[in-house]
């Protein structure tokens, strides 16, 4: 009896250990590129391809980081990215909350059609409409401007759908009670809807912030002068100028990765559940 249970327990332990080893192996493979990026960023250019492989640079050149930061003028681009991403996020959250509330809590003619139209835009990525969108923005005179980067991406179907889903779960009685107490429609939204919806608002804000900060294509098309460029544009133009200075390239890449990495570690729960559920919305 007891020897049989020990055998079972031993086998369970062995399975767990095997699983752990497998997971560790896969994780290492997935993380080697990131590790190599940081490691290379601390080397000098002539030691990049040294054999045998130097996983840890023998004498880490920490000075690569200040040099990379200064060469790219990161401060200016971080400010630009913050302006653009901040405005896009605020606009998106406000507009998504309004539309999600309207679609969830009111029954009006054409709301089903409207919902379908909003859903359909999920199949319409920027890359499909980039040519006419560019011409439209050019016609508005918004090329090479902040509003050109912000306004066209300030409404997003995913945000609307997430907020609608959230407001659907909000009991109608609460809203009816607020109406009976004499609150107007906007007042009810602001005093009942918004305070209760803040977890959903936060998730939408984080997801929009992340994707806007990361966006390369739209700013790349709209912006032509460095004074309005965002971080991804600065990284790309540095790359095309310094194609083979790998330590500098990796240092620039590492610096550019910091904001989103910090965001991820602070809001990990929202980001992962956000990715999991935005997929679900299709």
């Amino acid at each position: 009896m007891s020897s049989a249970t020990t055998a079972v327990r031993l086998r369970a332990h062995a399975a767990t250990i095997a699983l752990l080893l497998l997971l560790t192996g896969v994780t290492v493979v997935f993380l080697v590129p990131i590790f190599w990026m940081v490691s290379t960023s601390l080397k000098s250019n002539q030691h990049v391809f040294d054999l045998p492989i130097q996983w840890f640079p023998r004498r880490p050149l920490w000075s690569n980081y200040p040099t990379a930061y200064a060469t790219v003028h990161f401060t200016r681009y971080l400010v630009n990215s913050a302006i653009v991403t901040g405005s896009v996020t605020i606009l998106n959250v406000v507009l998504s909350a309004l539309a999600g509330y309207g679609l969830a809590k009111y029954r009006f003619l054409g709301r089903h059609v409207l919902l379908l139209l909003i859903l359909a835009t999920l199949m319409l990525p920027l890359e499909v409409v980039m040519v006419p969108l560019y011409l439209t923005v050019q016609h508005l005179g918004w090329l090479n401007s902040y509003q050109g980067m912000v306004v066209p991406v300030s409404a997003n179907a995913l945000g609307v759908l997430m907020m609608r889903q959230y407001f659907l779960s909000l009991p109608d009685d609460l809203i009816a009670a607020a109406h009976i107490d004499g609150a107007g429609h906007l007042g009810t939204f602001l005093r009942i809807g918004v305070p209760l919806a803040w977890p959903a608002l936060l998730t939408v804000a984080i997801l929009i912030f992340q994707s806007t900060w990361d966006d390369f294509v739209w700013p790349f098309l709209v912006i032509s002068s460095p004074s309005k460029a965002t971080v991804p544009l600065a990284v790309q133009s540095f790359q095309s100028a310094e194609t083979s200075n790998f330590p500098m390239l990796m240092a620039v890449s590492s610096i550019a990765s910091v904001p989103l990495t910090v965001l991820f570690f602070v809001f990990q729960r929202q980001i992962i559940s956000g990715v999991a559920t935005t997929g679900m919305r299709h």
């Binding site: 699983l19 997971l23 990361d214």
Partner: protein, 313 residues
């Protein structure tokens, strides 16, 4: 809900109420409908201006000889589409896209599922593994091609690993096959964690009792995976397919920065073709026609996968 039903019953049982009032109540709801429309209006206006209008504008442009440099535009019918069907670069881009998207999706869907199943077991520190494995998806999109261009350098880490395994080094970015392969690896590296997280959410919604019951019935791990996990995961699979296809078809940053579409257009995908034709070649009409083909492909795949997964349910 119940209040709503009471209102409806009351309306239906009130013969004196005029027909149009009844219709209005039925369709527009009990509260002022204008407020609902007002709440939705700002988003609607923006989507019309920056999604639907460009969409229809693209349809019109694709029938003209519009150019970025010349303001004069002439209606030329379907000539752009006819030209596309003869354009070897475009046909090549279609083939490349098929290979690139097919391979990337196969790799990240299978690998993502395997990782999700592994993490979903009772392992210690699974949260840590999930966090670490998600990190490639946190790396900024613009950094991915720069980093992988370095890894795929002739003397880079990938070739060193191949040599360590006793294989021949590959001229990744300068050979037609290697360039597409490099793009696939780089894209799958960033896409797999995203797929994994979606799968994990799906796996966690499968009730544990199902597995317990199957275990009692003597089903092994493989059998349990085939008869419980896969069927229960069908909706999730659909989500991952559509998500992954849309993401890989549209994205051209990786190809643009890593290979520039080369060598000799071997790694030019459809979206990169649209960018190059429209913004580097200034042929806005011709690029719009190609963009519409791209949209058609995305919509077709979405509809097909929706159908395929729904019919089996």
């Amino acid at each position: 809900m119940s209040g709503e039903r009471i209102v409806r019953v009351a309306v239906a049982g009130w013969p004196a109420e005029p027909f149009w009032t009844r219709v209005r109540r039925r369709w527009l709801g009990p509260t002022q409908p204008w407020w609902g429309a007002a709440f939705t209006a700002p988003v609607l206006v923006l989507l019309v201006c920056f999604k639907f209008w460009p969409m229809s504008y693209a349809a019109w442009l694709s029938l003209t000889n519009a150019s970025l440099t010349d303001r004069a535009r002439r209606f030329i019918g379907v000539s752009n589409y006819v030209r596309l069907s003869h354009d070897t670069t475009f046909i090549g881009a279609l083939e490349t896209t098929a290979r690139y998207v097919g391979a990337t999706i196969a790799v990240s869907m299978v690998l993502g599922l395997a990782l999700a199943v592994l993490i979903n077991q009772k392992v210690p520190a699974r949260g840590v593994f999930r966090t670490l494995l998600f990190l490639p998806a946190v790396v900024p999109l613009i950094v991915v091609p720069i980093l992988w261009q370095f890894l795929f350098h002739p003397y880079g880490l990938v070739n060193n690993a191949l040599k360590a395994l006793g294989l021949h080094p590959v001229n990744w970015l300068l050979s037609p096959q290697g360039a597409v392969g490099a793009l696939v690896v780089a894209t799958a590296w960033r896409l797999t964690p995203l797929c994994m997280v979606i799968y994990l959410a799906g796996l966690q919604s499968i009730p544990g009792e199902l597995y317990e019951a199957a275990k009692v019935d003597g089903a092994g791990a493989v059998r349990r995976f085939q008869s419980i996990t896969l069927p229960m995961l069908k909706p999730t699979l659909l989500v991952v397919v559509v998500f992954a296809i849309t993401l890989t078809v549209q994205n051209f940053v990786l190809a643009l920065v890593m290979t520039g579409g080369g060598p000799d257009n071997a790694s030019t995908t459809l979206s990169l073709f649209v960018y190059q034709t429209g913004f580097l070649g200034f042929q806005m009409g011709y690029a719009s026609a190609a963009a519409l083909v791209m949209l058609l492909i995305i919509v077709a795949f979405t509809v097909v996968s929706l159908r395929a997964f729904r019919i089996e349910e």
